[in-house]
Assembly symmetry: C2
Homo-oligomer: 406 residues x 2
Amino acid sequence: MTIKRTAGGVCAPKGFTAAGMHCGVRKNRDKKDIAMIFSDVECTAAAVYTQNKVYGAPITVTRQNIADGTARAVICNSGNANTSNADGVEKAEAMCRMTAEALGIKSSDVIVASTGVIGLRLDLEPIEYGIKELSKNLSKDGGNDAANAIMTTDTKVKEISFEFTLGGKTAKIGAIAKGSGMIHPNMATMLSFITTDAAISAEMLHKALKEVVDVTYNMISVDGDTSTNDMVAVMASGLCGNAPITSEGEDYEAFKAALGAVGSYMAPMIAGDGEGATRLITCSVTGAPDEKTAKTVARGVIASSLVKAMFFGADANWGRLLCAMGYCGAEFDLSRVGISMSSAAGSIKGVEGGFCIPFSEEDAKKILLESEITVDISMNQGEASATAWGCDLTYDYVKINGDYRS
Amino acid sequence: MTIKRTAGGVCAPKGFTAAGMHCGVRKNRDKKDIAMIFSDVECTAAAVYTQNKVYGAPITVTRQNIADGTARAVICNSGNANTSNADGVEKAEAMCRMTAEALGIKSSDVIVASTGVIGLRLDLEPIEYGIKELSKNLSKDGGNDAANAIMTTDTKVKEISFEFTLGGKTAKIGAIAKGSGMIHPNMATMLSFITTDAAISAEMLHKALKEVVDVTYNMISVDGDTSTNDMVAVMASGLCGNAPITSEGEDYEAFKAALGAVGSYMAPMIAGDGEGATRLITCSVTGAPDEKTAKTVARGVIASSLVKAMFFGADANWGRLLCAMGYCGAEFDLSRVGISMSSAAGSIKGVEGGFCIPFSEEDAKKILLESEITVDISMNQGEASATAWGCDLTYDYVKINGDYRS
C-alpha cells in the first residue's frame, strides 16, 4: 500500500472546489478572511470538536447539521470566533443559510466554522458579500486561497494532499488546517477541513476520523490552552469509484492510513508553527505500560511551560523533563526511565535509571540549537508508545498574546 | 479574636532562632545559599509536600524524619535541588546528620530541604562548612537572613509574623517562604517554613496545616508546572504556655486562623513575585455549586497561559476568561456566569449571562494597567467560593527559564 504526495490540497479529490478571499471581517485588506469548500455531490461527513465547555456558536450549528452524516460545503471565516455572543447561534445559522442559497444546496449540508477573537459581535454584512463572491469563484485551484483565508496567527499555509489505492481504485485525500496559539490536546484553536473522493459510510468515516485525531491532531500542544471553536471535519464524495467502505477490513485500513498520513503531516506542522515558536519539539515515548500512560507522558512533557522555555534557551535541563513527567498524572516506575534528546546535529542521553547522568554540555547545545528536536523517553516497562508535538515558549508568544485583539 | 502583625519572622515565636549565609553551593558569593532554623525545645511538627511523582531526595528524608510528629531544626540550601541524583538520599541524610551533630540534637529531628537545579550532583563540602557556621551564629535576628538564603529567582524576601491570643495566652506564629517559577496548585517550587510557640498536638497541627494549605499555598499558579522539592513545614514549640490543643474547638480555630493569616499573606506574595511577573492576578469565584468547582474554576483561570499573557498586555479579552473556565474541567451552567475585573483604578463588567457584553475599552485599560488586578467570577448557581492567585506571563519569564542553569 503506497500513499504518495500529490498536488491540489482540498481540491485534489474528485468533486471538490474551493475559494478564499478578503470579505471585510478583518480590517486588513491584505489578509483573506473567508473560505469555502464545495462538493459537486452529496458527501458523507464527520467531525470532531473542541472539548471546551464554552464552545462557539458554529460548533453548535455544525454539530446539528452533520448529525445526519452528510454535508456538501464548508464555510469558514477568520478574525472573529462568533463565540460568547448572545446572537451567535442565530448568526452561524444565517451563514449556513446564505451559503446554501448561494450554492443551491440544503442549509443543513453546510459545515460552518469561525476562528478569531471571542466575544466580539460578528457583522454579517461582509460575510454575506463574501459568500456570494466565493460561490462564483469556486475552482479546482482555490484550495490554497481557502487555506490562507482560515489562518489567524499562523505564519505558514497548511495544506496537503495524498493519493492512495483503495479497492483497486486511485483515491485522493486533501486537507487544509490552521493552528497557532491555544493548540492543546483535545483540539484547541485548530481547524482542519479534510476532503476525500473515497466512498465510505458516515459511521466508518467518523470512526476513522476519531482514531486518527486521537494520535495526531489531539497530540499537539502549543500552550496548554484549549479553544472554544475548533474542529476537524471530513467530507467524502465517493467519486473515486471504490466499493463503499461500510465495515472494518482492508479498505477501511487503507483509508485510515491515508487519513493518518494527513494527521501526521498536519500535527507537527501546526505545532512547529505555534505562536512565536522557533522550534518544533517532538516527544516520543516508548516502552510504556499502556497507551494512556504513553500519551499522558508525551503530552505532559510537551505542555510544560518550563520545558518549553528550556528549549527556547537551548538549555539541556534534564531535570525539567523528569519534573514534567512527574506531575503529568501518569503512574510509572521512575527507576526504569531513560531520556535522550536528538536532532539533525546528533543524539545525547541525559537520564538513565531515573537519574540524571553526566553529559557533554557542548554536544547538548549543538543538538538543541537545531530547529527540530526530539525528546526520546524510554520507559522500559511495557510495549506501548505515543508521540506528541509542541514548540518552544518564546518572547514572541508573550508579545502576540499580550495584545491579540489589536 | 485579633491577629496582628508583629516583628521577628520565624524567630518571633518563643524558642526559635535562625541564621542564613553563603556557604558555596552557589558560585555568587553575594547570594546566601543555606538557612537554619532551630528550636530550643522539642517541637511537634507537620509538613505537606509536592505531589509530583518525581520528588527530591530531601522530601524522602524529611517525610521519614517527621513521621513521629516531632522536629527541632530546619536545614535548607538553595542553588541545587538534590533531586534526580543517584546519591541524593544519602546526601540529604548526611545534611541531617551534620545538622544534628552541630546542634546536639537527633538526626531524625531535622527537616531537610533543597531548592534549585534538578539533576546536578550536590557537593557536601560547602554544606558541611555552612552547617557548622550557621549553628554558631543562630540568633533571634537571623530570620531575615534565613529568608534570604532560601530564595532562588525570587525578587522579594518573604517573611511574616503574627501575634494572637490562644487560651488566654499570647501566642506567636512566623514564617519564611520562597516561590517564583513553577508555583502551581499542589505545591510547586515553593518552600515555606513556619514556626509557632503554640502548644498543639502533631495530629491537630497536621490537620490545620493541610486545611490552610489547601486554600492558600495550593491556590497559587505561576506557570502550571509543579516542582519536585517543595514543602510547607511547621514546628510548634509550645512555649507560649497555652493548654495544648489536642482536638477541634475554640483554640484549634484560633490557631488555624493565625496559620491561615500566614497562608493568606504568603500566597499572593509568592504569586505576585512569580518569575518575570509584573502583575498579581487574584481570581475570586463566588456562587459556585460546590467548593471543588469554585477551586477548579479559580485555578483554571489563573493558570491559563493565554489569560496570563493577556494581563501582561493589559488587554481586556473577556473571551479568554470564559475559554479558560470552559476547559478547566469544572461542570457549570454557563448561562448564569458574570465576570468583572477590578483594581485600584475601578471595576468593569464584561460578561453577563455567559455572554460578552459591551464595555469601555478605555476604562478597562486603566483598570488592567494597575499592578494588582482581581477577576471576579459570579457563578450564580450556589454558595461556594474560592480564591486563587497568579501573575502575568512576561518576556522575562521566558528569559529566566530559557537559561535557568547558567
